[in-house]
């Protein structure tokens, strides 16, 4: 980031939520970079930015789409880069229909399942039919739909890399032309209408990013949960990716889109995942019925005929099975493939919660989270936990998730009575980060080793020690079992060397992750990187992308040369996956001939004499593949990559402006309104993301959106966020005096205009009501909140930090939880809840206590006429959206969406 000439921070509050990482923004600014903050609120980030642009929450696709339109229509896109390195020239199947044709839907939507069949989105094959995904016949197409939980994260597979391209970009079915048409209605006027951003502010932003992109300059974007926590969060990020590809800002120093991760090693927890649908290294979890055999599973990850490194997924997977099951994984038992559990559907946090309420889930481990405070619709979470047989909470303190059975709001309201709850709660004290050794993986994919400073006190244990002991005891329990279900537990390797305290040696776990080969003498030799992995069972590797972190027997993550050494890539500090590359896809930092785009942005280039790629970083490309090399595409895998295919993990080697596969809610991002919105979607007939995951339940009601009766009952928009002084749900900060005193009480932030409208006074109390809950907060009246004019009317936004909770033992500060207000409606790709936008009312004064609080909620919902159907209709206007698409040459085609409005 320090190398950027312009930094746009949007969908995040970097200075507050990532103050340490913000040093790089400060450094870039000191070197002359322009910093722009696009955010509903004026935050501590805005305070040190060159400009703050207020935006209505949830409208980012409209703004980014308009920037795409600006870049294309002003001819400011980076032509050589786009033509050579992206799929702009690729031709799309003629079965594809855009939202332009269908009033806001893409082709393939099934209103009964609420899912898309993405087959019509595919690239055109040489014979005119689509280039489908591998395994489609038995795979995705069997059910006619795709589900977000089934894809790994390595880019969607293609049967092969033989696609049609028109490098003049003139064919109307090229990605470029589709893109151009798709975003033509995203105009500055529309930005004003949708986002509440003035034409001047839009022009400022558009000029800033285009003047700071190209051969000599780069612009970078940084986002956080302000983009992800929406019913179309993945598409927010996709829009930015399209824009950055058009501007040539990917794979180059000072470019990119930085996913600012929320806590230490959240990146690590997706690499070696705590997610239900992924195995380590972004290998997908097998799905029952689709991946019943190993060949079916491997085919679904990647075809051997597609380009790039995913074609070697069999090597990564079989090495993983060797790490899991050791000698029990052999060729004749398909490397113990049948020992892996199978998915039967999305088993995310919220589906699990619903499962608890239905009595389907007996036990629950709560580790490093505080769902009673931190998850959406907190009441639903707490009532669900009350249905469990047992609950294990491992934390530093007795957080609300461990004590809800005696002090939750539901105890106060009488909905729960302690004596009626059968859940057995176990609290296990956890060690803090200074009391254990291991790695953190941060937002740059960098692993940094931390040493243990002191032993944990008393019975406190690290997660590693806890799970090692738990695993050892379970293995002991099932040691003599003859039940087939216990076979995986009996087979799993659990042989870590122990230290003098009986705990596993942390380095040994990192070595297992790094991987090793067993030589003829039966000795283990550590691998130096994932290219050494084999599919014949001779190598073992716990996470292929981490292979090399222990290369040569050295713990590379523990490297700490001050400032990372003299190299501009600072690569003597820690270790970045994969293969210690600091910038991914860095082949794109050179032009198609292999020369740097400019002296100023020189990073990786082709050295003709040496016949290899050289530069400041580890080249993210086959190191001896010449820029003009054009290998036979039928080779498949890395061997098929041409010299100008920088995106080596994509099935066609190109950056995807258009995603023919991989996303379940459309190949191009579309602006839809949030689940709850006081604004009609001005861009399309379709109001909300049609493929969003809906939980239409009495305990999860939604406020009426614009155009529905009762919308005036919940007239304001709220958004939730973090403060520097606290850590998420507060488990690591509300128990600490030095942090608690800095932000002692739950508060809401409102503009002076809203304060006047509702009689709120600074430092007084306010009650906030959503269809899910009633909470109270102190009031901060501030000009940092700006009322926006959207579609001709004023939209007031209410800011709510979410760090406080009710209950917990010995918390220094407590307060009502903002997340209680949030409903559960999810992004279908990621299963993330929409916690950044909701509708509410605000009234002066404190909330009623006990059961009176529920009565107030009920009276609101009655007045608004809320039912489980409210906002849960998938197709806004079936008449307009589901009819046959207009012929291509229909001159009114582009206006389709408007005529219905």
């Amino acid at each position: 980031m320090a190398n950027a000439d312009c930094i746009v921070l949007q969908g995040g509050n970097m200075a507050e939520a990532h103050p340490v990482g913000f040093q790089w923004v400060s450094e870039a600014k000191a070197r002359g970079a322009k910093v722009i903050h696009v955010d509903p609120r004026f935050t501590r980030t805005s305070a040190v930015a060159d400009k703050h642009i207020p935006i209505r929450v949830g409208s980012d696709v409209a703004l980014l789409g308009a920037l795409i339109n600006y870049v294309i229509s002003h001819d400011l896109w980076f032509k050589e880069y786009v033509v050579a390195y992206t799929n702009a020239a690729t031709i799309v199947s003629d079965e594809f229909r855009d939202t332009e044709d269908l009033g806001g839907l893409f082709s393939g939507f099934d209103p009964t399942t609420g899912k898309y069949d993405p087959s019509s989105w595919s690239y055109a094959d040489a014979d005119g039919s689509g280039v489908g995904g591998t395994g489609d016949d038995e795979g995705h197409n069997k059910s006619g739909t795709a589900s977000g939980e089934m894809a790994g994260s390595g880019g969607a597979p293609l049967e092969h890399s033989g696609v049609q391209r028109d490098e003049t970009l003139q064919d109307p079915r090229t990605v470029f032309q589709i893109l151009k048409r798709h975003y033509s209605r995203y105009t500055p006027e529309m930005v004003q209408e949708v986002c509440g951003i003035s034409a001047d502010d839009f022009t400022y932003l558009a000029k800033a990013i285009t003047e700071n992109s190209g051969r000599d300059r780069t612009t970078c974007w940084g986002y956080a949960t302000g983009w992800t926590q929406h019913t179309l969060g993945a598409q927010f990020i996709r829009t930015a990716a399209i824009l950055q590809l058009l501007l040539g800002n990917v794979g180059r120093p000072g470019g990119g889109i930085m996913a600012l991760r929320g806590h230490a090693s959240i990146q690590g927890s997706t690499d070696i995942p705590t997610l239900f649908n992924l195995l380590p290294g972004y290998l997908p979890m097998p799905t029952v019925g689709l991946h019943d055999t190993l060949p079916e599973y491997l085919d679904a990850i990647a075809s051997k005929k597609q380009k790039g490194f995913w074609a070697d997924a069999d090597r990564y997977f079989i090495s993983l099975m060797k790490a899991y099951f050791g000698d029990a994984a052999q060729a004749d038992n398909n490397w113990a493939y049948d020992y892996l559990p199978r998915l039967s559907g999305p088993h995310g946090t919220y589906q699990t919660t619903v499962g608890m309420l239905a009595g389907d889930v007996e036990g629950y481990f709560v580790l490093g989270q505080n769902p009673a405070v931190g998850s959406a619709n907190g009441r639903m979470q707490r009532l669900a936990m009350a249905k469990l047989k047992w609950l294990v909470v491992r934390d530093l303190s007795l957080i609300e998730s461990a004590t809800w059975w005696k002090d939750s709001p539901e105890i106060a309201s009488g909905e729960l009575r302690t004596e009626d709850i059968d859940t057995e709660v176990f609290f296990m004290p956890a060690a803090t980060h200074v009391e254990k050794a291991g790695t953190f993986t941060q937002t740059q994919r960098m692993l940094q080793w931390r040493h243990q400073a002191i032993r944990p006190p008393g019975e406190c244990q690290s997660d590693m020690d806890f799970f090692y002991q738990l695993g050892a005891r379970i293995k002991e329990l099932v040691a003599d079992s003859t039940d087939e279900v216990d076979a995986p537990l009996q087979a799993v390797t659990w042989d870590y060397p122990l230290d003098e305290h009986g705990d596993p040696v942390p380095e040994s776990v990192l070595q297992e992750i790094n991987g090793y080969r067993t030589n003829e003498q039966g000795e283990r030799e550590l691998l130096s990187g994932y290219p050494e992995l084999k599919a014949d069972g001779s190598t073992s590797c716990g996470c292929w992308i981490y292979s090399g972190v222990f290369a040569g027997g050295q713990n590379m993550s523990a490297r700490r040369v001050p400032r990372g050494g003299p190299n501009p890539a600072q690569n003597e500090w820690g270790w970045a996956w994969p293969a210690d590359r600091r910038i991914l896809y860095n082949r794109a930092s050179a032009d198609p001939d292999g020369k740097p785009w400019s002296e100023r942005k020189k990073y990786i280039w082709w050295d003709e004499e040496q016949g290899k790629w050289v530069g400041d970083d580890v080249p993210d490309f086959p190191v001896d593949r010449a820029p003009h090399s054009r290998p036979d595409p039928d080779l498949g895998g890395p061997a098929a990559l041409t010299g100008d295919d920088p995106f080596i993990m994509q099935a066609d080697g190109k950056g995807w402006l258009y995603a023919p596969k991989g996303l379940v809610d459309g190949p191009l991002p579309v602006h839809y309104e949030a689940q709850e919105s006081p604004v009609r979607n001005p861009l399309y007939v379709q109001q909300q993301n049609p493929a969003r995951m809906i939980f239409a339940r009495e305990d999860n009601l939604d406020a009426p959106s614009a155009g529905m009766p009762g919308v005036e009952v919940y007239p304001y928009v709220f958004t939730t966020y973090r403060l520097t002084e606290h850590h998420t749900a507060g488990g690591m900060s509300r128990w600490l005096p030095y942090l608690s005193e800095l932000q002692p009480e739950m508060f809401c932030e409102v503009s002076p205009a809203l304060a006047q409208e509702r009689g709120l006074v600074n430092d007084g109390w306010a009650t906030i009501v959503s269809p899910r809950a009633v909470i109270e907060a102190k009031v901060l009246v501030t000009d940092r909140m700006t009322p926006l004019t959207v579609a001709g009317k004023t939209v007031h936004q209410v800011g709510l930090p979410y760090h406080w909770g009710v209950g917990g033992t010995d918390a220094i500060v407590s307060g009502d939880a903002a997340n209680d207000l949030i409903g559960v409606t999810l992004d279908p790709n990621t299963q993330i809840q929409e916690s950044k936008v909701g509708s509410c009312d605000v009234i002066a004064g404190r909330r009623p206590r006990g059961a009176a609080s529920l009565a107030l909620l009920a009276s609101y919902n009655e007045r608004a006429g809320v039912t489980t159907e409210t906002d849960n209709i998938r197709i806004t206007d079936p008449e307009a959206e589901l009819k046959d698409p207009a012929p291509k040459d229909d001159p009114n085609r582009d206006k389709e969406g408007w005529s219905q409005f």
Binding site: A15, E16, P19, V20, F22, Q23, S26, K29, A30, K34, F42, R44, T45, S46, A47, V48, A49, D50, K51, H52, L723, T724, E725, P737, Y738, L739, S740, E741, L742, Q743, P744, E745, F747, N762, D763, K778, L780, T782, D783, R784, D810, A811, I812, V813, S814, G815
Partner: protein, 347 residues
């Protein structure tokens, strides 16, 4: 005994000086200090927390929201040795600040950068360089953040009035309390022109009831009743370590180092901001001719000092000591003369 204009018992009371030498350190280190550049502060308060952690100071907030923007600490005190102020300003106030800063430049005040660089000249050179000279800050609104700390004055009022010798000038020219010598008399509290030094109460107020039973409770507070303030991490300095607040600051808003270097850095930074059209930038504490002889901890401010709760013209009370002593001497002499005349006249 003759009374020097500047000193008492060989100790200089105001004007430029080398404080450690003035305090009779035969061998001493170069003067250390802070330069807090508030223009790049992100208000994270890591300095407040790092300071309390290192110095083991107790929590002293009453755990209630103040309603003062994000400032719930409010002021420096016996247990809060770094304090981050948050000030929200509208366009009118920003323009006033810009204008008042511009006037400081045209007055040629030594506090704001090299006098050769007038704003006009700076702007001309910037235009010549093709730079964007429009003032980059959001014009409608701004949010100032500034981390305050003990100033470690060249002439420290607290030290000069301390009757027990608990306060002393270190070899780094900083001012430090020895808690085992301090008897809690409180003279220093009145002696500080910045209101920095305070006596430590029990560190808490009465527990608040109704919202969390643990509120207000914490372990027994040490050094109760003793005057306390920032030591510029004297213990860390002795080990050649950076003070905790500067070490933790993620944006280098708090810079630590040799005082003379910091003055240069500070002046360059003001000049740079002025070139960018941010004429509201000005230095505080870098003028050795001010009422405290300049401070060890300096600040770059974006508005007038009083906006941040800093006195605009601090003056060490003992600065007037020679004059007072002279006047008292004259008065005594006058009275003696008058008595003598009266006595002689009566004869």
């Amino acid at each position: 005994m003759s009374i020097d204009e500047h000193s008492v018992l060989g100790h200089q009371l105001h004007g430029p000086t080398d404080p450690a030498a003035d305090a009779h350190w035969q061998v001493h280190k170069s003067r250390k200090g802070f330069f807090t550049d508030t223009s790049i502060c992100i208000g994270c308060k890591a300095c407040e927390v790092a300071c309390k952690e290192w110095n083991r100071n107790p929590r002293d907030g009453d755990l209630e929201l103040t309603g003062w923007s994000y400032d719930n600490t409010q002021a420096l005190g016996a247990s809060t040795w770094r304090h981050v102020a948050f000030i929200e300003q509208d366009r009118e106030r920003i323009e006033e600040a810009r204008e008042s800063g511009r006037q400081l430049v045209s007055l040629g005040m030594p506090t704001v950068g090299p006098p050769a660089k007038t704003p006009e000249a700076a702007t001309d050179s910037a235009i010549a360089a093709g730079a964007d000279t429009s003032a980059p800050d959001t014009p409608e609104f701004r949010w100032l953040m500034a981390s305050d700390v003990c100033k470690h004055c060249t002439h420290a009022g607290c030290l000069d009035v301390c009757p027990t010798g608990a306060l002393f000038r270190t070899e780094f020219s900083t001012v430090v309390v020895q808690p085992d010598v301090c008897n809690g008399c409180g003279t220093c509290v009145a002696g500080c022109p910045f209101g920095v030094i305070q006596r430590r109460s029990d560190g808490t107020v009465e527990p608040t009831t109704g919202r969390g039973e643990q509120k207000g409770q914490q372990p027994e507070v040490e050094k109760k009743g003793i005057a306390q303030k920032c030591t510029l991490c004297y213990d860390r300095l002795l080990d050649d370590e950076t003070p905790a607040c500067a070490k933790t600051c993620p944006t280098t808003s708090i810079k630590y180092g040799d005082h003379t270097d910091l003055v240069d850095i500070a002046r360059d930074r003001v000049a740079q901001l002025h070139e960018q059209g941010l004429t509201e930038a000005r230095l505080y504490g870098a003028n050795e001719l001010d009422g405290v002889g300049g401070t060890g901890a300096m600040f770059l401010l974006l508005d007038e000092p009083q906006v941040y709760g800093l006195p605009p013209d601090p003056r060490v009370p003992t600065a007037d000591l020679p004059v007072m002593a002279k006047r008292a001497g004259m008065a005594v002499a006058g009275m003696v003369t008058a008595a003598a005349i009266a006595f002689l006249g009566a004869r």
